[in-house]
Symmetry: C2
Subunit: 429 residues, 2 copies
């Protein structure tokens, strides 16, 4: 039995209070599984007197979180403040500089500054762990870093944003439109007052950048990451997708291609009956393709106080066991700059919805545009109204390139009988 | 950079040769991810000259595997011989006694002797890892031991035998009977010449005993583990299950109940559309229920040379990183004897198929037996032929206890109009 591992927690929201609840409530279990006592010595939050679900009286309260990083009775700083810059960054940087281990759930911070923070951690022989930053309670970073470490990874696909998955699931199951479900999600507390970060895909992008770094041993890179949100997806698209055998999900996909690493977040059509299609509501999931293991799929609570705290405490327990895995799976000074593949090089099949005037020649013009870009049509749905009125044409293509598809879409958009710009969603087979 | 970690491999079948292929083929990757070189120095197999898919010329060949455990140039013994007793047991025991780390894929050995071997490993400050023993390439033991370690586990459910899942999937999809699919699986090499170990559930039982040990911190216990195989499952049962909204899978389930730990392997009806139902063919899956994380589901290749080797090499890499987690998640001297719950105490819903003479009063007698045991019927299907001929009655019950169900079944079996003993399958909701 070594001396207790002493924890300072910065940030006492739903995750922070759940971390306190686990460490206090599972004291014997944590000791049995690590061989050490884990003790909270100090906490910090903006408002000391806010009503919280856990008892904090036994801990020193620091109104300035920076006090934790210089406290002699804190071995591990748990950062649950959030945000890529400001106090969270300062706190983590200084904690590592002061030789303290850091556990954080802060995806924005790790996506932006992970590589330099990992380097600082290694200089000080400290751990920097952030399992909770990606996919909540699913231990996917440990799987990439350790459990699947014998594999060269070719592809990681994630359902990384619970708000978007909740919205898409409820749109389909309730035959509703996005704005309607979003308003409900906000009322229920599943979506932020300003939902653009979730709905627009940036939250998923932060998580994907971290997955990429671990999968390929590259520094996280948000600049070379193509992001589209779910704003354009309508219930009508879900109906067409269903007719074609698909469901719509917001995916984060990172893949190793001949031209480099391609990172992208956007809605996708996924086959009904597939593992990804089966992920409903606020659940999250990650699917990893390795050269020896094949496909491994993990699903669980991608967000929420207790599941996220499960990952935070698991990281703390790894520190108690003296697990000193590299933060990104390889030494920080070996983290390569990511060699990005251009989005135009993406090979994908596509769903395309086009609104046009229903008159002779429209279909010929559209199909000619696909042909001229070398794109082969796989399925075709036409929903006409009265002749001369608007017709909706839906096309599913065979695999083509993003460049060819964008060229075809630009040509189609200029055709005189087109009433609304073509809307496309990639198909993930 | 520390000195190389030197490996001796005992057993060069499909897993052993895949381990060699990964260690040689991913040399740079393994070094980057561990900070150490991993080198094979010696190998052992029954037949030196057998044709194999990998080049072995660079390694010392030992015709006696026991030579590995005393070799001064072997730090880690990788045991891939198999079997609970005999040379595999002797090899692992002696390797640990000699202060060598051990990685094994041997489920039978760990289920039978895991606790004493873990104790020996801890005495010598050596690692004993066996990720490959359960669910092939899925890193489920690491998840239980580390990634989900902050959770009190209430339940683990696994699809743990690829042969059975292959048979059940192909029975349903091909409208075929078990014997027919089994013969095909044997011809394709997916089933052993003597399939009783797989089909009868013992292979899954070994794996479940290991999952139980890690989930609950108890020594593996095969004695208190209820085992039924899939021999009794017919295509007809799958059709009835389908009508009721279910698919049939062989599950291993370990759960913490008020009366103790209940371990069981048997066929189950699982809801169509559930994660477990979506596991097809030779895939494996494990679902864990934790108090903080909720349900985490992991799916992947549960068997096969390369996926299993992925787990073996991951364990070796953990040793290279000086990860010294307890073999069963807690210290060996703290492993409790498992307090078993009696199978009779199981609370479950049931599917029951009864063949009876189609005459007045039969149904009344059957339903009276359920009533007298306090069992409530949820669904009912009757498939009659000509009056006076055989009728098949299928009943799905609400939750009851195993004891009550067995009493009802015994009563029904004795009724004069019953033509074949009632056949029941538990329903896992």
């Amino acid at each position: 039995m070594t001396h207790p591992l002493r924890i300072g927690i910065a940030g006492l929201g739903t995750v922070g209070t759940s971390v306190v609840a686990i460490i206090e409530g599972q004291r014997a279990l944590l000791r049995a599984r690590t061989g050490s006592d884990i003790e909270i010595t100090a906490v910090s939050a903006r408002d000391k007197n806010k009503e919280r679900s856990v008892e904090l009286g036994a801990y020193r309260f620091e109104s300035d979180p920076m006090a934790l990083v210089s406290a002699s009775d804190v071995d591990v700083v748990v950062e649950l403040i959030g945000g890529a810059e400001g106090v969270a960054h300062e706190l983590v940087k200084t904690a590592l500089k002061n030789g303290k281990h850091v556990v954080t759930a802060n995806k924005a911070l790790i996506a932006a500054h992970g590589a330099s923070l990992a380097a600082e951690a290694e200089r000080k022989n400290c751990a920097l762990f952030f399992e909770a930053a990606v996919a909540g309670g699913i231990p996917i970073l440990k799987a990439l870093r350790e459990g699947l470490a014998a594999n060269a990874i070719s592809r990681v696909i994630g359902i990384l944003n619970g708000t978007c998955n909740y919205i898409l699931t409820h749109m389909w199951e309730g035959k509703r439109e996005l704005a309607d479900v979003l308003a409900e999600a906000q009322a229920l507390g599943y979506a932020e007052a300003d939902p653009s970060f979730d709905v627009g895909g940036m939250d998923a992008a932060h998580k994907l950048a971290i997955l990429t770094a671990l999968a390929y041993g590259a520094a996280p890179d948000l600049k070379h990451l193509h992001v589209e949100g779910i704003e354009g997806v309508s219930f009508r698209d879900m109906q067409f997708a269903d007719q074609l055998g698909y469901t719509i999900r917001l995916l984060g996909i990172t893949s190793r291609t001949e031209q480099g690493i391609l990172q992208r977040v956007h809605p996708c059509l996924v086959a009904k009956g597939s593992s990804l299609a089966s992920v409903r509501g606020v659940l999250g999931a990650v699917q990893v393709q390795g050269d020896s293991v094949g496909t491994v799929f993990m699903q669980g609570a991608g967000a929420g106080g207790a599941p996220t705290a499960s990952s935070v405490v698991a990281d703390v327990m790894d520190i108690a066991r003296s697990n000193r895995s590299y933060a990104f799976g390889i030494a920080a000074d070996k983290l390569a700059a990511l060699k990005p593949a251009p989005m135009a090089s993406l090979a994908s099949a596509y769903y395309v919805r086009i609104g046009a005037v229903d008159k002779p020649g429209v279909l010929a013009d559209i199909t000619a545009s696909f042909r001229d870009s070398g794109i082969s049509v796989k399925s075709f749905i036409q929903h006409g109204q009265a002749a001369g009125e608007k017709v909706t044409i839906v096309i599913a293509t065979h695999t083509t390139t993003e460049a060819d598809m964008q060229r075809a879409l630009a040509t189609i958009a200029k055709q005189p009988s087109i009433l609304e710009a073509p809307f496309s969603i990639r198909i993930e087979e």
